[in-house]
């Protein structure tokens, strides 16, 4: 046996060389246990630590670790008792620090230990009851604080989630107590508020809420009830302890010491706003781990017991959590979960549900891109086809998909294809060319192609769709600058050309910014006006910086001042953005980058960008292109990124001030001490301190003081910046929401006389009808000619394939983005909600606007109108 005990512990249950390729769980445990026994005397403490770590970080192997500890318990009760006590301390700690994953996994670990007779069943029941009673208290209006229901739900969820691992043993050994716990859960479920997660669903359901839909608690509760009716049999949880029952049964069970839950958070205020803020905080702290996404038809996905689906999802989410950053192991464990059935479809659904999880997935979306790539490589025969099926299924429903999710799907899909030579059966989607240009499927294909071109290059992507030449019309224009003053030797005439050439000459001749500014002010502005100056100067500078991102930065760094001199106010900055957009009209990416950098160098304010995005030319693009939205997203996120960076820096500075203060105090104390020694011995020939040391100490003290002052000054500076950033953020929100409200109010169909809210999807009903219509084919041909440049509402044409009219689609799309921004920046919005209530969500605002913004904030639509 060459593998060390650590490797054996890590690899237990895996089909791997360390265990001779065997998959026999009993054999694994015996092998591992033998080695642990041999090493026990030398490495007892290490084994103790490592076992606990394994249990917490490889939770799908908890049953194996449970048995190993059970076997050790037979020989060394003290060791096992130590494990139990440490687990209790860890759980206690996790409850108070609100470490959700740790709480959940430790409860599962307790079940594992109980199965192997290390923990007594009644002490587990006791722990469950502690959690249940804390949950019930939180919901109590008097004793608790119902805003914190997410925490209460989480506790009960953890209890339920551990039952697949220990339910059957509890049922055998303490049936009455288990029944009591279940009754307690039942009564909790009946008093809790149903969680309406309409804000977070990937697909918009039809108008109105769906009262029958179960939320995550009700869903899990039902799965566990089915489980209990089936005699607690779970296929997906290994039961290695059964093979060792004869040995384990004589083990001494330890009592799991009681834990306590943190007391409910109280608030004295009854204000609706404060409650909303508090609920938002609680939602953030206890977010839902999974929002199940049903992608595949039931006959296609694997057929399994409700509880097995839950367990496999838990496995997958835990592997994703603990193996983030370890590519190889992550893929390995995902494809080799300890279950006796196939689960590729479920795995795909689970990973897509994470990629599309709202408001945010636990990790960056690019992580799931990587996981899907790795799974396609790990299961080359099975997984790629599942991914293809998932993409098709999501594509079919794209028009109902949440706006944010659509963007994530576009980014994922283009990146995914870029890792597989851009191979995709595009001909299956060729027909989207015949759809109106605002049809979500068409926009999706167009945006995927746009992103593919950015990751690669035009010719390559054009070649990749050669089987579907119809789609060439959806390719972005071939990127390249569009310089208004491009000089052609044959004809160079206008004033603009002349001035532009002169400016190029000045830049080449390394004239200083000051010289160029005075040239602009003397040669261009008086004769041609400031607008013309912006035109010539910005076009020319953009052209000088057009070679690459770095060229652009260089030009802006050197000559940005010229631009800022010309664009001191928003009006001029809007013109500047028009110039950028005209120069880079063939490259959405460069337009976005240029505007982003100009904001970075403070040549353009974020408010100006919002205004520009909501200017008529861009508003007309809202439903047919991601171009304006990309710029808006960048701007808002850049603003808040700066704020959060400043917050972090301030935190660090606070810490270093503490350090500097202590150092300074220490240095001056030492100096004082040294001085005082001298004073006492004054008059005597032998001074205890040499003048050299005193000077040195004085130097230290001075420097420490300087350091302290300098840190304090930079803290003050940062705090001033933060205050300014926060103010800017507030102004940004105000303008953003006002702009949304303005453009939407202008276009939304009015409420009918009897108060009915318009149904924007009303035209959608005959989609299936149209597909079955034999006339469709001919009509599609008609469409080929007209749909491209015909942006007018045309009932006849829009009926084919996609029957929502242009205006309705524009409204749906813009409302979707409003919801998406509200959800993404909910924390910032909640902190300025009073201002928004007063200035934006006022009086007769259209109910659809209010609905979109409020559902993004998870805020009930209040009665006050």
């Amino acid at each position: 046996m060459s593998a060390g005990w650590r490797t054996l512990l890590l690899r237990i249950g895996d089909r791997c060389p360390e265990y001779g390729g065997s998959a026999d769980h009993k054999e694994h445990i015996e092998t591992c246990y033998t080695v642990l026994c041999r090493e026990y005397e030398h490495s007892k403490d290490d084994i103790f630590e490592f076992l606990l770590q394994c249990a917490e970080q490889l939770p799908h192997k908890i049953p194996f670790f449970g048995v190993l500890i059970g076997l050790i318990n037979l020989e060394n009760e003290g060791f096992a008792k130590g494990i139990v006590d440490t687990a209790q301390a860890n759980l206690q700690d996790a409850l108070h620090n609100e470490n959700r994953d740790r709480i959940r996994i430790l409860l599962r670990f307790l079940s594992g230990l109980m199965c192997s007779k290390v923990i007594s069943p009644d002490s587990i029941i006791e722990t469950y009851e502690t959690l249940l009673s804390s949950a019930a208290t939180i919901l109590d209006e008097e004793a608790g604080n119902p805003s914190w229901q997410p925490r209460a739900d989480f506790y009960v969820y953890c209890v339920l989630a551990s039952l697949p691992w220990g339910g059957s043993e509890l049922f055998e050994q303490v049936p009455d107590e288990l029944e009591r716990v279940l009754v307690g859960i039942q009564s909790y479920i009946s008093i809790r508020r149903h969680f309406d997660d309409i804000a977070f669903s990937v697909f918009e359901t039809d108008e109105g809420d769906s009262p029958n839909k179960k939320d995550f608690m009700e869903d899990l509760w039902e799965r566990i009830q089915v489980l209990s009716r089936n005699g607690w049999k779970v296929k997906s949880v290994p039961k290695p302890h059964l093979s060792f029952e004869a040995q384990l049964v004589v083990g001494k069970s330890h009592r799991f010491p009681p834990v306590s839950c943190p007391p409910p958070t109280f608030t004295l205020s009854a204000s609706e706003i404060l409650k909303g803020q508090e609920k938002h905080e609680a939602d953030l702290k206890y977010p839902q781990r999974l929002r199940r996404l049903h992608i595949f038809p039931t006959n296609k996905a694997e057929n399994m017991q409700p509880v097995d689906r839950f367990v496999v999802e838990e496995y997958i989410l835990d592997v994703l959590l603990f193996f983030n950053g370890c590519r190889k192991e992550c893929a390995f464990y995902l494809v080799s979960l300890p279950v006796p059935f196939r689960y590729e479809y479920l795995m795909a659904e689970t990973i897509f549900s994470q990629l599309l999880l709202l408001p945010n997935p636990p990790f960056r979306p690019i992580y799931y891109t990587l996981v899907i790539i790795d799974l396609c490589k790990a299961l080359p025969a099975a997984f790629p086809s599942v991914v293809v099926a998932a993409v098709h299924a999501l594509f079919d429903r794209i028009s109902n998909m949440d706006t944010e999710c659509r963007t994530r799907l576009i980014l994922w899909f283009s990146h995914h294809l870029s890792n597989f030579q851009f191979i995709w059966p595009w001909q299956e989607w060729a027909s989207v060319k015949g759809l109106p240009k605002w049809a979500p499927q068409r926009v999706f294909v167009q945006e995927v192609l746009e992103r593919e071109v950015r990751l690669s290059y035009f010719e390559k992507i054009k070649q990749s769709i050669e089987d579907a030449t119809e789609l060439e019309g959806l390719l972005p224009p071939k990127a390249g600058p569009n310089f208004r003053y491009h000089t052609d030797d044959s004809k160079e005439s206008t004033e603009g050309h002349r001035l532009s050439k002169e400016l190029v000459g000045m830049v080449r001749g390394r004239k200083t910014t000051r010289d160029i500014i005075s040239w602009v002010e003397e040669q261009i502005v008086p004769a041609n006006g400031a607008k013309f100056a912006i035109d010539v100067v910005s076009q020319t500078l953009l052209d000088i910086g057009s070679k690459s991102f770095t060229h652009l930065i260089t030009v802006l760094e050197r000559y940005g001042q010229i631009i800022s001199k010309l664009c001191p106010d928003e009006e001029m900055q809007l013109l500047l953005m028009d110039e950028v957009s005209a120069y880079w009209k063939n490259s959405t990416q460069m337009t976005a980058i240029a505007i982003d950098r100009m904001m970075g160098y403070r040549l353009i304010s974020n408010l100006a960008i919002v205004k520009w995005v909501f200017s008529p030319a861009n508003v007309d693009q809202f439903h047919v292109s991601d171009r304006p939205w990309e710029i808006l997203r960048n701007t808002v996120s850049k603003t808040y990124n700066r704020v959060s960076d400043l917050r972090k820096e301030i935190q660090t500075l606070r810490k270093s001030i503490q350090v500097a203060k202590e150092a300074s105090a220490k240095a001056s104390r030492e100096l004082e001490e040294a001085k005082s020694v001298l004073e006492i011995v004054e008059g005597q020939p032998a001074p205890s301190e040499t003048p050299g040391r005193l000077r040195r100490l004085q130097g230290f003290a001075d420097r420490a003081k300087e350091e302290e002052v300098a840190t304090e000054e930079s803290l003050e500076a940062k705090e001033a910046l933060l205050a300014r950033g926060l103010e800017e953020g507030k102004e940004l929100l105000r303008l953003l929401f006002k702009s949304f409200v303005d453009v939407l109010t202008e276009r939304l169909p009015p409420i009918s006389a009897n108060g009915d809210v318009p149904n924007l999807r009303a035209g959608d009903q005959d989609v299936t009808f149209a597909a079955a219509d034999p006339e469709v084919a001919t009509m599609e041909i008609d469409n080929e000619n007209g749909a491209d440049n015909d942006s007018q509402l045309n009932g006849k044409k829009t009926k084919v394939g996609y029957s929502i009219g242009e205006l309705e689609q524009w409204c749906l799309c813009t409302l979707g983005y409003l919801k998406s921004f509200s959800r993404q920046y909910a924390t910032e919005i909640w902190s300025h909600i009073a201002m928004l209530d007063e200035e934006v969500f006022v009086g007769n605002i259209h109910p659809l606007i209010r609905k979109a913004a409020f559902s993004g904030l998870c805020r009930p639509i209040s009665e006050r109108v």
Partner: protein
């Protein structure tokens, strides 16, 4: 999150010989760095392509393309600077080993960009790995520089006729994908980039030889599935 499978001692297999500090200082620099090094790129990959990919790990502050010190053209690596440490970490975790421009790229923490590090360190101007490679890599100028010289020497002895082409470094003023680093119009940029280099380097025979090579007709071979096993090659270079 998972500490069990990570070997914390393996922060980076590569120790930059130009780093002046101790190993501990080097590691501390890597741990705090906001910069990543990107390797095994195609010579044709643009900053904008890299931007699109790397921005998915976070907001990018700067991109510095690695350039051949003779030709001032991209030579297959770059530095990406982020604003935050987490973003740099995500780039290393999630982008390393994935494809950019049909090549598996490598992303590592870097100790921080300094002026001068944008230049290739190979004798011929590009990266060291491209000196000694013996494979044919169309995305990185064909054969390695040593092999190219060998082939050229042979050509001087034997007349191969019209069809033969050595694989000269690609020209960048081609119409389809402008690179621009060597574009003569851009004198300003040229000077800035080349100044520190030309001052200390005497002209050597390498660059003259390069100039003699025949221009290539279509350097951009992009066959489906021509993924080469780059990791080995990369490691060889790193160990050197």
């Amino acid at each position: 999150m998972a500490s069990l499978f990570k070997d914390p001692s393996k922060l980076s297999v590569y120790r930059d010989r130009r780093f002046s500090g101790t190993q501990e200082e080097f590691e501390a620099a890597l741990l705090a760095s906001l910069t990543v090094y990107v390797g095994n790129m195609s010579f044709y990959t643009t900053e904008e392509q890299a931007y699109e990919l790397f921005t998915r790990a976070g907001e990018i502050k700067k991109i510095i393309m690695g350039l051949d010190k003779n030709t001032k053209t991209p030579c297959g690596f770059c530095f990406v600077l982020y604003y935050s440490r987490e973003d740099a970490e995500d780039a290393v975790k999630y982008i390393s080993g994935t494809m950019l421009d049909d090549r598996p790229i490598r992303v590592d923490f870097d100790w921080g960009f300094e002026e001068g590090r944008q230049w290739g360190r190979g004798r011929s101007g590009g990266q060291v790995r491209d000196e000694y490679r013996t494979d044919y890599d169309p995305g990185r100028g064909g054969y390695g520089k040593m092999v190219q010289k060998e082939l050229e020497a042979q050509r001087e002895l034997v007349d191969y006729g019209v069809g033969f082409q050595t694989n000269a470094p690609p020209q960048y003023d081609r119409a389809d994908r402008k690179r621009g680093y060597s574009d003569r119009n851009d004198r300003d940029y040229q000077r800035r980039r080349s100044a520190p280099d030309m001052s200390r380097r005497a002209p050597d025979s390498d660059s003259r030889k390069d100039a003699n090579q025949e221009p290539e007709k279509n350097p951009r071979f992009r066959e489906k599935g021509d993924s080469d096993d780059e990791d080995d090659d990369y490691d060889k270079k790193r160990r050197r």
